[in-house]
């Protein structure tokens, strides 16, 4: 079906560095996606709830503070609990390589570290969302 992909771009936790999230959001828009941007300091509960209400195809989160091991899995758990079993969840930010396997195991489909071109993230979303 020819329809825009809907993505929730969220900043969980307290860090205010949203350059990456904003640049990615803008690139997604320019790639024809509908981006629901929720701003700073979002709790996992808020992100999961927004993902459900907005019926997004993908939740894209960014954390630079080092709280990713704590917050990313929480979001996955809550989104799944609320019935969002088919929502693709990805993360980005300053995330050490050695944390990535654990995050993937927790249900984060992919982690994008600094230097990733926005086109890579966008292609990943296009190729991995679970709905037509």
């Amino acid at each position: 079906m020819n329809r825009p992909i809907r993505v929730l771009v969220a900043k969980p936790g307290l860090d205010g560095h949203d350059r990456g999230a904003k640049v990615v959001a803008r690139a997604m828009r320019d790639a024809g996606m509908e981006v629901i941007y929720t701003g700073l300091r979002q709790t996992p509960e808020q992100i999961a709830e927004a993902a459900i209400q907005e019926d997004v195809d993908c939740v894209a989160m960014s954390i630079l503070s080092g709280a990713h091991n704590h917050l990313f899995p929480k979001v996955v758990k809550l989104v799944r609990e609320k019935g969002g079993e088919d929502i693709l969840i990805i993360g980005g930010g300053v995330i050490p390589e050695e944390d990535i396997p654990g995050l993937k195991e927790a249900g984060i489909a992919e982690i994008f570290t600094p230097g990733t071109p926005t086109s890579v993230t966008i292609d990943f979303i296009r190729n991995n969302i679970k709905r037509d």
Binding site: G13, L14, D15, G16, H17, D18, R19, K22, V23, A25, R26, A27, R29, Y37, G39, L40, R41, T43, S65, G66, A67, N69, H70, L71, V94, P96, E97, E98, T113, P114, G115, P117, T118, S119
Partner: protein, 559 residues
């Protein structure tokens, strides 16, 4: 600087060179690029000559170090007298661990401390607040009460070191804690030297650790100005920061423009609060970024100094020369670091160090190579500090003042950056000043556009980042990154619980009630905060009371 006759001769020779030599060379093959652009979006010419600075008046525009308009530096002898302060931003996990790192850095020859706080502290939440979960001790040290602050500076004589604290929304509380710790060491406030960042406008613009709405935030800031002018005279009450504006993606010109526009807003607020400009302006300090475009960066620092001096003199009629001097701290550009081939970052930092030093910085933090991956390890921090020391002691650039002055290119670019920044400031004035321009999203939009343009240039390969979009290699994941013990959060929670059991809670309540009352009036809040801090009221409790009275800032997101 040149008479007309000489200039005409220069022009004629240049035209001759262009029409013959250059034309012939270009006929054989074009230059690498059709156009060379500066990061601020203006064209860089093939060659700069005296024609480009024909209008420069040496005595008026450049003058001498320590003299208006301070283009060549704020101190008369600059680094010949005393090198810049090497100040590495550090702090993580608990007060105990950070205290160890500070002592290590001081032993390694660092000359000032720079405290990084964790995000809950920066946003005025105690470590046991639900929103603090997962964040305690991550990007800096967790400070919940005076107790933590006592541990943080244990064994460090506060009359001997100068301490810079990256704290903004709750700056008044952390400053009060510092004063209280000093008192316990027997050091009176007038002996204290250091800086609090205390720059809320750039939090709204770029950094995101705000708490209160604009007006009460500005009031807290002017309260600090007033209090310190009387009691902590050697303290830099604010560090007006372009660093984060640049990190958010601005150009060099925007960094200067928006930072100085914020500066203007603070000066106006303080004057409106009844302070005399020369009473507080000498204690204003600035904080800039240093990026890789070496010469543009040097020009940026020089332009910022000249523009600020003129603003203070002409717009605010400052009389004290100290009010006109733009003194600044520099940090090398975090966003220029790559996660790929991280050792290359050492070279980037070295170039940026040169930019800061050739630009006349007063203090410098050099980033560590692994910061695009995690918090820096001790080894990486040492290399970063050594980079400064090599520039200071081996490169020779610190031996004469403002060595790039007189370069046709650097002078021309200094003029250009000053002109373009002044145009931005005029536009912001039209919008009603920095606070209004932020509210309207103008400043954020400009930065956002630059950030996006930069990203597109990198992705198209038009802008090369070595190791990232060119000259890549297959590499394995770096090992041995610094990890913060996840138990820190639990430890802080326990400490808080113990504190709440042992302190005099009635006195805490009383001091908080007094603070709340005062917050509703226009009294200076510093003495009330100091009293509460000394009773071991926590940061979260103090900010909580102020949140009740002031409300919270509503973010406006511009994309």
């Amino acid at each position: 600087m040149y008479n007309k006759e000489k200039l005409d001769a220069v022009k004629a020779a240049r035209e001759n060179w262009e029409n013959n030599k250059i034309a012939k060379t270009l006929a054989k093959g074009p230059e690498r690029k059709e156009k060379f652009m500066s990061t601020s979006g203006y064209e860089v010419k093939r060659l700069y000559t005296p024609e480009d600075i024909a209008d420069l008046d040496y005595n008026e525009d450049l003058s001498y170090p320590g003299e208006f308009p301070y283009t060549r530096g704020v101190q008369p002898t600059m680094y010949r007298g005393k090198l810049w302060t090497m100040r590495q931003y550090a702090g993580f996990a608990t007060a105990e661990e950070s205290n160890k790192r500070y002592k290590y850095l001081l032993e390694q020859g660092q000359t000032g401390l720079s405290v990084a706080f964790d995000l809950p502290t920066q946003i005025g939440y105690d470590s046991d607040h639900p929103l603090a979960e997962g964040e305690v001790g991550k990007v800096g040290v967790a400070i919940d009460s005076l107790k933590d602050m006592e541990i943080l500076f244990d064994g460090i004589p506060l009359d001997k070191v100068s301490t810079s604290m990256t704290i903004n929304a709750p700056a008044a509380v952390l400053l009060a804690m510092y004063i209280a710790v000093a008192e316990k060491q027997g050091v009176t406030p007038d002996k204290l030297s250091g800086t609090i960042q205390n720059d809320i406008l750039k939090e709204y613009i770029a950094r995101g650790t705000y708490i209160f709405p604009t007006e009460p935030s500005m009031r807290l800031i002017t309260n600090i100005f007033e209090y310190c002018a009387k009691n902590v005279p050697k303290w830099n009450t604010i560090s007006i920061s372009g660093y984060h504006i640049r990190e958010a993606g601005s150009t060099a010109v925007q960094e200067v423009a928006f930072t100085l526009a914020d500066g203007i807003a603070y000066v106006e607020a303080a004057i409106k609060a009844g302070l005399d400009v020369d009473q507080f302006a000498p204690r204003l300090s600035f904080f800039f970024n240093a990026h890789n475009d070496l010469l543009e960066e040097v020009a940026k620092f020089r332009a910022a100094r000249r523009l600020w001096a003129k603003i203070m003199k002409e717009r605010f009629h400052a009389k004290d020369p100290k009010s006109m001097m733009l003194r600044f701290h520099t940090q090398t550009g975090g966003s220029t670091l790559t996660a790929q081939q991280p050792d290359n970052n050492i070279v980037r930092v070295a170039i940026q160090t040169l930019a800061a030093v050739l630009g006349g910085t007063q203090s410098l933090h050099t980033n560590s190579r692994d910061e695009a991956l995690a918090l820096p390890t001790e080894d990486s921090v040492r290399i970063a500090l050594r980079t400064q020391q090599i520039v200071a002691y081996e490169s020779g650039v610190a031996d004469t003042i403002d060595p790039l002055a007189g370069s046709y290119y650097v002078e021309s670019m200094t003029n250009e950056i000053e002109k373009r920044a002044a145009e931005y400031i005029a536009k912001i004035d039209e919008l009603g000043g920095a606070a209004k321009a932020i509210e309207k999203g103008f400043i954020q939009q400009e930065i956002q556009d630059s950030a996006y343009r930069y990203q597109k240039e990198v992705e198209s390969g038009e802008r090369i980042v070595v190791g990232m979009n060119k000259f890549q290699i297959q590499e394995s994941a770096p090992k041995g990154l610094l990890r913060v013990d996840p138990a820190v959060g639990e430890m802080q929670k326990e400490k808080l619980k113990a504190l709440r059991d042992e302190r005099d809670n009635a006195k805490v309540e009383e001091s908080l009630a007094e603070l709340k009352r005062a917050a509703g009036t226009d009294e200076n809040l510093m003495p009330y905060i100091l009293t509460a801090v000394k009773q071991y009221a926590t940061l979260g409790e103090i900010c909580g009371v102020l949140r009740e009275v002031f409300g919270e800032y509503q973010q406006s997101v511009i994309l």
